[in-house]
Symmetry: C2
Subunit: 420 residues, 2 copies
């Protein structure tokens, strides 16, 4: 089955906003084995929208439209679709009272304008919107199903989930496109591809074919595998073997095969091993602590963080001696090590991390250019210190530095020799 | 003039990749007064691509296609466009030798497959690609100009700049679409719209018409104004008046009219006033320090940050008495105040900020539900403390809490009475 996703809203035709609903919709459709062949972004213009829907009806089995279901004169998705299908719009009094009740509960009187949201093309099924006033609509026309959903992602997402569960999944059958993402840290894209390509090149022609894409994201390389299979079990079997082959080749640089982010992987290791971590950050300015604490439940293992942007803070909060700062400079291996040791000792935690570097754009020198970052990680008595040269702008250097630190800690906690 | 942007590439129809070229292209087209009416993302499929181009020829003055100009069999943009225009593709030997030379300089021998990149629809102008092997193409068909550019943004962007300069700007004249963004904190979307709508509703019909869109982003509301004017001076005059009217109505809740983010606005205030800031964070886990230090040059005013996730850290690093923690709980106005005062005193800075709260998903109670956040800001002798109830998931609560804290500080630093 082929799908077309149409995002409606003039704001998504500006340089400031992008459609993101289509990513969520694509993922769920793909899981059902439905191919997204085209995405269109169109403004709040009835004629243009109608032209897009008319063209998609020629080839699409599923058309998902998001946006343009609000109460104002700008909201024209209902009208455009009704026009193309040649169906009259009729007011649905049940929807009117649902909207009125909903607004009354929030202390508002329903405005007349909201009646527009109760206009339904004849024959459409109404999809309840638990988080807003705009109901969704499901229509069938020839072989094509049309799905109209509101634009705000927090309203759209649960409504689309309900449609998948109740209407699309039952017809899609068991087969589909099944995915796996292998995330790798500490290797370049070309190195990963050179090692992985001789493995994945053969997957396209096997019984359950797997397509592989390599993507470079900030601080990590990702291999995206998608298997087209008749059943989930068959897809899982092929993907399990594929992932195992990649992990065998790429070794411990693979940090995630189950969707987890680096901070979740490290968090799970800390929690499982009953370790507490304390971090001392200079150039990353709090981003490492913030990433660690993005994980729900991280208060179980994050003891404290210190952002010591000034040398005075490094001396006062971590006990880094002024002589060491003067002799080696703030961005140096001895200072990073003393930061990790200092914050760990003060927190009485098992793990301490110190990061110091030059995030740019200013502050670089010939000897220590922008992007020079020193990371020290201490786990119990074991201290490792590494100097990295990271590229990118200020926020990229910050992110890559936190990624490098988390990866060093991850490797220390997963070493076969580790008795921890 | 109306434009259609077509992004070609099956990877942009997965849940993992989005077209971003269109944002750059839209911005430059808008500056020339060219309206982007539609964006289409289509896979590496010749027929589907041809259908899209055919449909756009009906209405678009400019069609920009990015992607699908590589050397492999998947790269079909040239073929699809030639098919629609009914023009033969011919090999351009000048392009072949440019590609051969380019590859020779990099130490490679040109493969036969690269000759595909030298196929040019008859009558097309070739656009030099200084950063890659795929040349761009410019074609005219009736009233429509078609522009074919390679997909990688670092190749596409300078090539499109050259086209704008040499081909589009001379015909577009001086006029265009000019934009301004007004950013507002501390008000709801409906409150902003209720106040702003009576003002902006009249702008559509004035001599220089201004279109206004309201957008809710995390922690802020944005009003996007775009004026269509015959000259930049005329556009600026209309937008200056419009922005002044909005600021007059919305008052100090407007924090930016020049594109700056909240952390840049606050950073500029701190720098100008010669103040240093120190922050103590619990539920935001370092995000406030990280946002402050995202700004280049922030080392001039960020003295330190402390992430005190544990109560012990609050006691040891900030001097919050255990009795206060026991009596009021960690999430309380007295504790937030003592955190701000404690970090400020230890840093000997003028400004101190304390944040404590419940980011969720766990940890909420009936009295203090998830999203309860207390912020204290001290500037010299002036301390303000506020309790917020923020919505969203964990990362949204973290972000909104930092935004609330930055906004409180901003308001204290810009009060008319402030002698600072």
């Amino acid at each position: 089955m082929k799908a077309c996703i149409v995002a409606v809203g003039s704001e998504m035709l500006t340089p400031f906003r992008q459609d993101t609903n289509s990513l969520v919709v694509t993922e769920r459709l793909n899981q059902l084995g439905i191919d997204v062949r085209m995405k269109v972004i169109v403004g709040d213009d009835r004629e243009e929208m109608a032209g897009v829907v008319r063209a998609a009806l020629d080839w699409a089995d599923v058309i998902v439209l998001t946006g343009g279901l609000g109460p104002t004169a700008d909201d024209l998705t209902r009208e455009a679709v009704a026009e193309v299908l040649g169906t009259p719009l009729e007011i649905d009094e049940a929807i009117v009272s649902r909207i009125r009740d909903r607004m009354a509960r929030a202390g508002f009187v329903m405005a007349d304008i909201n009646r527009r949201q109760a206009m339904v093309p004849r024959g459409a099924a109404v999809i309840d919107n638990p988080r807003g006033t705009a109901p969704g609509l499901w229509l069938e026309h020839g072989r094509t199903s049309l799905i109209l959903l509101p634009g705000p992602p927090r309203e759209m997402t649960p409504m689309f989930e309900a449609i998948v569960r109740e209407r699309l999944a039952p017809r899609a059958g068991e087969g589909g496109l099944f995915r796996r993402v292998v995330k790798i840290a500490g290797r370049t894209e070309s190195d990963v591809d050179a090692r992985a390509e001789p493995i994945y090149r053969h997957w396209r022609d096997q019984a359950v074919p797997i397509a592989t894409t390599i993507l470079a994201a900030a601080g990590q390389i990702e291999l995206h595998l998608s298997a087209r299979a008749a059943t989930r079990a068959e897809g899982d079997r092929a993907l399990d073997a594929a992932v195992a082959a990649l992990v065998g080749e790429l070794g411990p640089s693979v940090f995630s095969v189950d969707g987890r982010q680096m901070e979740e992987v490290v968090g799970d290791l800390l929690r499982t091993k009953g370790l507490q971590v304390a971090v001392a950050e200079s150039c990353t300015g709090g981003l490492l602590a913030s990433r660690l604490t993005d994980v729900p439940g991280s208060s179980a293992y994050v003891e404290r963080g210190v952002v010591c942007y000034s040398n005075r803070a490094k001396v006062e909060l971590l006990g880094v001696p002024e002589q060491v700062l003067a002799a080696h400079g703030a961005v140096s291996e001895p200072v990073a090590r003393l930061m990790a040791e200092g914050v760990r000792a003060r927190a009485a935690s098992q793990v301490g991390i110190g990061i110091t570097g030059i995030a740019g754009p200013g502050g670089g020198t010939a000897e220590k250019p922008v992007g020079t970052v020193v990371v020290a990680v201490q786990v119990d008595d074991d201290v490792r210190v590494r100097t990295f040269t990271l590229f990118g702008d200020r926020t990229q250097v910050k992110f890559r530095a936190t990624q490098a630190a988390l990866n060093m800690l991850r490797l220390m906690l997963t070493e076969p020799a580790a008795s921890r």
